[in-house]
């Protein structure tokens, strides 16, 4: 059955190629090469390293990213033999394969791990698209990976930040961070005020999401601290509405925090924005009114 093992193999080989090309191309970038090599090791051998081994691997990745003097190449390059509008075809093959695969593999169970069906389909789309590029554009065998390395260099260490933050969340959970924050926030609710409880619940979801970078980490904490005891059990709120709208209030927090690196910092790097926080700045004016909407909605329908 095709599952995460296959995905990690593809990702590991891709990062290994980035690493190899970082030392073989001039100017050589040994810092980048080491960084990509360690990520490739994580993808290819992570399951054999053991927990502590993986922890040491993370420390090595952080050391290289901090001390390794990573850099990127000039981006000014003229397109070689510009092609016509057919260029959209390989680009669209990726989402279309992801879409078609998601539905097709649901029809034939047992072939692809049902939990990973979209990611597997996406990966197959990437491979298919790459084959089309090779057949049609006839680049040198290493050329796509050379171009991939160029884009990857622009993202740099930010590439691994989302995975690091997810792991930090696990350590926070182990240390019981959620309960402590939940108790603290629970103390500041004015007693007897439904509106006060709704406001603290929604703002707390958003704020805790800002800190953790992830509404998933904030949700169990805020629901246990305020949602269940006050909104649901004391004021009789409908559980589905309290939960669903609370989660969406948390998503408003995701829009404004650098801790949600994969949504906010990586795109800024990928688009080569001058301002690292440019995407966040573009989202704040949507996030604030939407958070107010969620507070009002929950108060009205609870």
């Amino acid at each position: 059955m095709i599952g995460l093992g296959f995905l990690y193999l593809v990702a590991g080989v891709t990062f290994a190629s980035f690493s190899l090309l970082s030392v073989t191309q001039v100017p050589r970038r040994p810092g980048n090469a080491l960084f990509y090599a360690l990520i490739a090791v994580s993808f290819l051998l992570g399951d054999r390293l053991g927990d502590f081994g993986n922890g040491v691997l993370v420390l090595a990745i952080v050391a290289v990213a901090t001390l390794g003097r990573m850099g990127f190449r000039d981006r000014t390059q003229q397109p070689v033999e510009p092609r016509g509008p057919m260029l959209f075809v390989p680009a669209l093959v990726i989402p279309v394969t992801a879409l078609a695969g998601t539905f097709a593999f649901a029809e034939v169970p047992g072939f692809v791990d049902p939990k990973q069906v979209t990611l597997v389909s996406l990966t197959l789309g990437v491979i298919l698209s790459l084959l089309i590029c090779f057949a049609w554009l006839r680049p040198a065998p290493a050329e796509p990976f050379r171009q991939g390395t160029r884009l990857m260099d622009h993202i740099g260490w930010a590439a691994i930040l989302p995975q690091m933050l997810a792991s930090l969340g696990a350590v926070f959970a182990l240390a019981g961070m959620g309960d402590i924050v939940g108790t603290l926030i629970g103390h500041i609710i004015p007693s007897g005020s439904i509106l006060g409880a709704v406001v603290v619940y929604c703002l707390g979801m958003a704020l805790f999401t800002v800190i953790m970078g992830n509404a998933f980490a904030a949700f169990p904490v805020m629901l246990t601290a305020i949602g269940l005891p006050l909104l649901i059990h004391t004021y009789g709120g409908a559980p589905a509405r309290v939960a669903a709208i609370g989660m969406l209030a948390g998503f408003c927090g995701t829009l404004v925090t650098p801790m949600a690196a994969n949504f906010n910092l990586v795109p800024a790097a990928l688009l080569e924005l001058r301002d690292r926080y440019g995407v966040i700045r573009a989202q704040v004016p949507t996030a604030i009114p939407l958070l107010l909407f969620n507070i009002a909605l929950l108060y009205l329908v609870m």
Binding site: G55, V56, P79, A240, A243, L255, M259, N264, T286
Partner: protein, 221 residues
Amino acid sequence: MLVLAGIVVIAAGFMLRFNPLLVVIASALVTGLAAGLDPVTVIAAFGKAFNDSRYITIIYIVLPVIGILERHGLQTRARDLIGRVRGATMGRLLLVYLGFRQISAALGLTSIAGPAQTVRPLIAPMAEAAADTQSEGEGDPDQAKALAAATDNVGLFFGEDIFIAIGSILLMKGVLESDGIDLAPLDLSVWAIPTAIAAFVIHGTRLLFADRRLKRRPRKP
């Protein structure tokens, strides 16, 4: 109480602009030690979580394809295409993309679009080209690109919760279940619809206002 020091480390580290990777690992160590765990346990816990969340970093496998297509002029083609559509503006383009992203995410198709898959190769260059035409070359190209990435996020966040089998819905179901409240995923996902509509209206309005600002700019002295 001491474990809150982990949050202080994160906030201070980001504010003082240390390398965020270093800040994260420092916060993990401080949090773990404050909770009375020994350093080896903290590093092992971090390593296990890192290994379990590798799927987050898979998306970069699309870069070789995007890179080779850009080398052959994909972004230029995207710009040309938007230039040929009559009445196309940055705001309208992104409004259509917002709707597409919300609806596809609501059908559970969260990975078919994203910063690497669609925004960098297609949507950002199109938005940039449209904004450039509207402001007669006076606009800030970064603004259009940032707004394109923002639109992708808003569409994803406020669409995906309508899908019944998405992670957040399953998480809500699980947490409520542990308190003895049994809900069907559909009960939860219908309550994502009002906020999805509000997100479309609020962000969509901003996009159309951004168009008006672009048009006004060249007339200023």
